[in-house]
């Protein structure tokens, strides 16, 4: 029998508007303290009328690491983007299970390892410098528009080899695609918008085959040419790199600006960490504290159990990364920002630094790139002695997945 935990006064976690007010950490903490998992009814976007919420670190890891029991095939976010299991989105890397997943993932992963990404440092620093030069020319500006959007869109465009004059288009298009994740139409809008950018990237791939360059679109186009990827897989993988590489990094940078502008303790801890050369720990702590991607989803392939909770075949289990990253079992004093905390409990398969990038076969392919961008930004802000303060109200967006900030008016002083 399925035991459903009833909770009073918990906001509706099937409604993206809930997240506009902020990440409901307090509700997640109450869920985490209860036995079993909590069930959220939903009249849309699942296969069985609702979804489970996994909020403990270990439960999240268990679900993500076991793609036999918990498939990505119907979608990896709530609401499910491929609810029939065989829609056009089934060839997107996010929605594939091993072994097809490994074949597709390798096409880019093989040229995205730590030794390759480390070589990006000097040109990413140029991108960051250029962005800060431009933004800091004004005393007051919108941090989202001038900084958070610019750095990741330029970085991912360069990684993919998108020419300069198409970079704005790429940034605008990815923001629209991410918004569509909250549209309740079974992935239709998402598919249409992703398809448009996909067409562009397919064209770019054809050009790259004629003029190969040292970029990811060339690598993927070559995999298409030699049959490792089919045309749909190629297109969706390129689009995924683009939107995944943009949106979450953009959200992280947005929140970093907000935290630095509003929280003196975080500002002080940041300066100290950078002075002491602990930038890696600082980046990890910002990522944990912010957790830019709030939650993902999997579907049970059979009747099973998590944390003693009976789960039925076809039930959606959402894994709440924002909650896992505030699990006091793993991060004591979880609501405190502390880059000097003892290293988190190393859980097998999570890279040891929190649940920001997921776990298991789908763990973020771009995590090293993301961390590098953020580290360089923090270092450059520190070197320039930039002090941010608010110049109006920050504004959040309504989104199921992304911890999104849409507006951040700041004023900046330098030196």
């Amino acid at each position: 029998m399925t035991v459903t935990t009833e909770l009073n006064d918990v906001p509706d976690l099937a409604d993206p508007e809930t997240f506009k007010a902020g990440v409901p950490y307090e509700a997640f903490a109450r869920m985490r303290a209860l036995p079993g998992l909590v069930w959220q009814p939903a009249d849309y976007g699942t296969l069985t009328g609702g979804f489970w919420l996994a909020t403990r670190y270990d439960d999240v890891a268990e679900v993500l690491q076991d793609s036999d029991r918990f498939t990505s095939r119907f979608g990896n976010v709530y609401p499910l983007l491929n609810p029939t299991g065989d829609g056009p989105m089934m060839k997107q890397i996010n929605h594939q299970d091993p072994p097809a997943h490994g074949r597709v993932r390798r096409a880019a992963a093989k040229s995205f390892g730590p030794r390759v990404v480390a070589n990006f440092e000097s040109w990413i620093r140029e991108v960051v410098d250029e962005t800060l030069d431009d933004a800091l020319r004004q005393e007051r500006f919108d941090w989202i528009l001038q900084v958070a959007r610019y750095i990741p869109s330029r970085v991912i465009a360069q990684v993919l080899g998108v020419p300069l004059d198409r970079r704005e288009y790429i940034a605008d298009a990815t923001i629209e695609i991410f918004k569509s994740l909250s549209v309740e139409d079974g992935g239709e809008t998402f598919g249409r918008l992703a398809g448009q950018v996909g067409e562009y990237l397919t064209q770019l791939g054809e050009e790259k085959l004629l003029n190969p360059a040292d970029d990811m679109t060339t690598v993927l186009a070559q995999s298409l040419q030699n049959g490792e990827l089919d045309p749909v897989e190629f297109q969706l993988y390129a689009v995924t790199l683009l939107i995944a590489g943009f949106e979450t990094s953009h959200t992280t940078i947005a929140h970093i600006g907000h935290l630095l502008a509003t929280d003196p303790a975080i500002r002080a801890a940041t300066a100290r960490a950078l002075d002491e050369g602990r930038s890696a720990e600082l980046v990890d702590e910002f990522l944990r504290y912010i957790t830019p991607a709030i939650r993902f989803a999997r579907v049970a392939t059979r009747d099973t159990e998590i944390a003693g909770q009976a789960i039925k075949k076809d039930d959606v289990v959402t894994v709440v990364l924002s909650a896992a990253n505030r699990d006091p079992e793993v991060f004591p004093r979880p609501d405190e920002f502390d880059p000097f905390r003892e290293s988190p409990k190393p859980a097998v398969g999570t890279g040891g630094a929190g649940m920001v990038f997921g776990a298991g076969p789908h763990r973020c392919v771009g995590h090293m790139l993301a961390k590098l961008e953020i580290r360089i930004l923090l270092e450059e802000l520190h070197a320039r002695k930039v002090v941010l303060s608010m110049d109006g109200e920050a504004e959040r967006g309504a989104h199921h997945v992304v911890n999104t900030l849409v507006k951040l008016p700041v004023s900046a002083t330098v030196g």
Binding site: Q65, S67, P98, P99, H101, G102, R103, R105, R106, A109, K110, S111, F112, G113, P114, R115, V116, V348, G349, T350, G351, A359, G360, P361, R363
Partner: protein, 108 residues
């Protein structure tokens, strides 16, 4: 014949010997026994390169040669691969590998 096979993991000065059922991958031999330095993020899907090992030269030739996909993914390891590099999720523990010695890269 025994249905167990032994694997020796060497991590700097640390040496850990584990015994696993024949057919287990060397990656799982490590992660199931909490041997540090082998992460095995993707669970053997051959898509993460966090299970990199240097096979002891004495043992290297006794293994089947790595496939194309494995050679591709060796490009994505944290530590520079050598001629003795393998991804341990692609090494099945068998009667032939009983006692195999695998060195764990420092930076992994």
């Amino acid at each position: 014949m025994s249905d167990k096979s032994k694997v020796v993991f060497v991590n700097g000065a640390n040496r850990t010997e584990v015994e696993v059922l024949v057919g287990t991958s060397a990656m799982h031999a490590a992660t199931d026994n909490l041997v540090g330095g082998i992460i095995g993020e993707c669970g053997g899907d051959l898509s993460c390169a966090t299970c990199h090992v240097f096979v002891d030269p004495e043992w290297f030739d006794r293994l089947d040669a790595p496939g194309v996909d494995e050679r591709d993914m060796l490009e994505a390891t944290s530590e520079e691969p050598t001629e003795f590099s393998r991804l341990s999720c692609q090494i099945p523990c068998t009667a032939e590998t009983d006692g195999i010695v695998l060195h764990i890269p420092e930076s992994q």
